[in-house]
Symmetry: C2
Subunit: 334 residues, 2 copies
Amino acid sequence: MGVTIRDVAQHAGVSISTVSRVLNQTAPVNPEKHRRVMTAVDALGYSPNPVAISLLKQATGIVGVVLPSISGEFFAELLLGLDDTVQEHGYLLLVSASHRHEAEFKAALKSISRRVDGFLIMAPEITPKIAHELLEEDIPVVFVNTPVDDDMFDVIHFDNYGGMYALTSHLLERGHQRIAFIKGPTAAYDAQDRLRAYRDAMRQLGGEYVEALEFDGDFSAECGYRAAQLLMQSDPQATALIAANDLCAQGALRYLLLAGVRVPEDMALAGFDDIPSARYSTPSLTTVRVPIRNIAMQVVHHLIARISDPGACSRRHHCHPVNLVIRESSGSAH
Amino acid sequence: MGVTIRDVAQHAGVSISTVSRVLNQTAPVNPEKHRRVMTAVDALGYSPNPVAISLLKQATGIVGVVLPSISGEFFAELLLGLDDTVQEHGYLLLVSASHRHEAEFKAALKSISRRVDGFLIMAPEITPKIAHELLEEDIPVVFVNTPVDDDMFDVIHFDNYGGMYALTSHLLERGHQRIAFIKGPTAAYDAQDRLRAYRDAMRQLGGEYVEALEFDGDFSAECGYRAAQLLMQSDPQATALIAANDLCAQGALRYLLLAGVRVPEDMALAGFDDIPSARYSTPSLTTVRVPIRNIAMQVVHHLIARISDPGACSRRHHCHPVNLVIRESSGSAH
DNA sequence: TACCTTTGCGAAAACGTTTTCATGATACTT
DNA sequence: AAGTATCATGAAAACGTTTTCGCAAAGGTA
C-alpha cells in the first residue's frame, strides 16, 4: 500500500514526468527508460491514485444517483440497469436511496455533490420550484420521472398518463363499468398522473365514475391488501380494480383470493409497472409495462453526453412510451 | 462553481489557514475575523471540495459494495439496508453489481479500489483461494455470504445449512416422504450448503431420498417454473417441493397452479429467504427468514469498526441465525 | 558553419485542502 | 523589568497526480 509514482520514478531512475508519460502514453519516451519504468511498475505493484487524478482533472468518473424510497423489484431493476450502463462508459455509481422529503433530497445532494461528475435524480414528489433550487450549481443533471417542466433541465419520464388511460380503457372495453382504483402517494407526480388518467378515461369513455371507488394508497403491498378489504366491505358493485402499481395490485390480489373472490371472474384486477413477478402471480397480472432497463440506459446515455460536452445539445424532455400487457387478471385470457 | 478556500480568504482579508480554522473549529480565532470569514463563506457560497480532503486525509468517506447478480427483492432489501446504515455513519455507498465470474469481481475491485475506505464483498461463487488473491492490499474488507474459511478476514454469513435443515425437517414431520428439491447455482456456496442440508435431513430423518428428486436451478423464477414442470412430468409421487430460494419457489408455484396441482393439498411447497412478497402469494409461502436488514446493518458496523481502527478486533466470522416461517404453502395452516 | 526545428526529459506548477511550523505580539511569573 | 509561556496567525509543506515550461542535445537545411 502507498506506493506512489515517485517510488516508481526512483526505482527506475527517471523523473516522475517520464513515468506518467509511459503510463499514459502521452508522449514518446526512450525505449530503454520505457522498459525500466515498466519493470519498476510491476516490481512495486504500482497503480495510480484515482483521487489524486480526480483532484487534478476536476472529474471523478463517478455518477451520483439519488432515489426516493421505491419498492423492491422496481428499485433493483432500475439500479441494475443504471449500473450496467454506467460501467459500459467507464463510470461508477454512487447511490443514495430512500429519500422522501425535500430536506432529505437536499441533504443527499449536498453530501454527494462535489464527488460526482453528474447526477441522476428521481424525485416524483418534488416540486418544480425545488428542482431549481437544488440545481444552483451547474453540474450535469438528468431528472427521471420528476415533475420538472421548464427547459432548463433534462428530464426523462415515461407515459404514466397514457399507460393508465390505456389500461382503464381496456377494462372498460371488456364491459366493466364500475372500476375501483387504489391511488399512489398523494404527493407523487407519477401517482397523480395515473389517477388523472383513470378519472379522465372513466369520464370520457362511459365508465360509472364515483368518488367512492377511489381508495388511498402508497404503492405498497400492504395498502393494496387493505384497500381491497375496504372495497369488498363498502362497495361490492365494483367488478374491476386497478392498483396504481403492481406491488399494490399483488397486495390486493392476496386479499381477494383470501376472501374467496375469484379473479378475474368476480373481480378483474390490474396493476402498473410490469415488475418481473407480475407474470408469476396467479392469475398473472394485467399491467402496463414500463421499460425500466431501457429507461435506465437512456438516462445514463443522456447524462454521459452532457458530462462530456456540457453545452452541446439543448435541454430536452423525453417521454418513454409504455405498453399495455394483458394477462389473466383482467379476464382477457378467458 | 469553483469557489475555493483561497477566494474566501481573499474576500475576508485573512489567510486560508484562518478560514480552515474557522470552518473546522480546529483552533480559536479572533471574533472579528471569524465574523468576516463567515460572511465571506455565505456571500460566495463556499463549500469545501471533498476530493481535495480525501487526497489529503487519505480517506474518502465512501464504502464500496461489490455484489453478484442476485434477484430483485433480495438485492433491493440488501442495498437499502446497507445504504441506510452507511449513511448513519456519514459514509456513502459506491456500488458495483451483477458480477458472476472471478474476472468480473477482480475488475470491479480494481476499478473501485483506491476510491473507497473499505469493501463489502458478497461473492458466494468465489473460492477461498481467490479471496486471498483479491485482498493483497490491506484495505478493510468484510465478506458477506462468501466461502472464506480462514481467520484472515471478517466474514458474515447466515445459516444456510441450518435453515434448510429445519425446513426439510418441518416437511418431513408433516408426513412428507418424497420431497423434491430445486437446486441453486452449482458454483454458489450458499446453494451448496442448502442442498447439503436438504440431503442430510432427508437421509438422517427418514425421508425417501432419491437423486431423481433433485432438479437443477439458478435461483430464478424461470428455473422454478421449468423444474416444477419437469417434476410433474417425471415423478408424480413427490408430495412436497423445496426450492433453494423464494423466487424459484414462486416460479414453481406458478406452474403448479397453472397445471391444476393444488398447493399445499397435492403438493406442499417451500422456499428460502422470506423476501417481502413471500407472504403475499397465494398460498403464502412457507420459507426460511433471512434477516437481510439486520445482516446489512451488522456488516456495515463491522466494516466501519475496522475502518476506524484497523488493528482492533481480531478477524471474526459471524453466522446469523435464520428462522423457519411456516405459512400456507406447506399445508400447516390447515 | 550558422541557424532553426525537432526530440526527450526533468523541474515545477497546478488541483484544493489540512496541518505543521515559525513568528511576532501579548500576558504571566518571579 | 526581564524572561517565559501563551496565543493568534500567516507561510509553507503535504497528499499524488498530470501537464506546461524550459533546456539541452540532436538533426536538418541553407
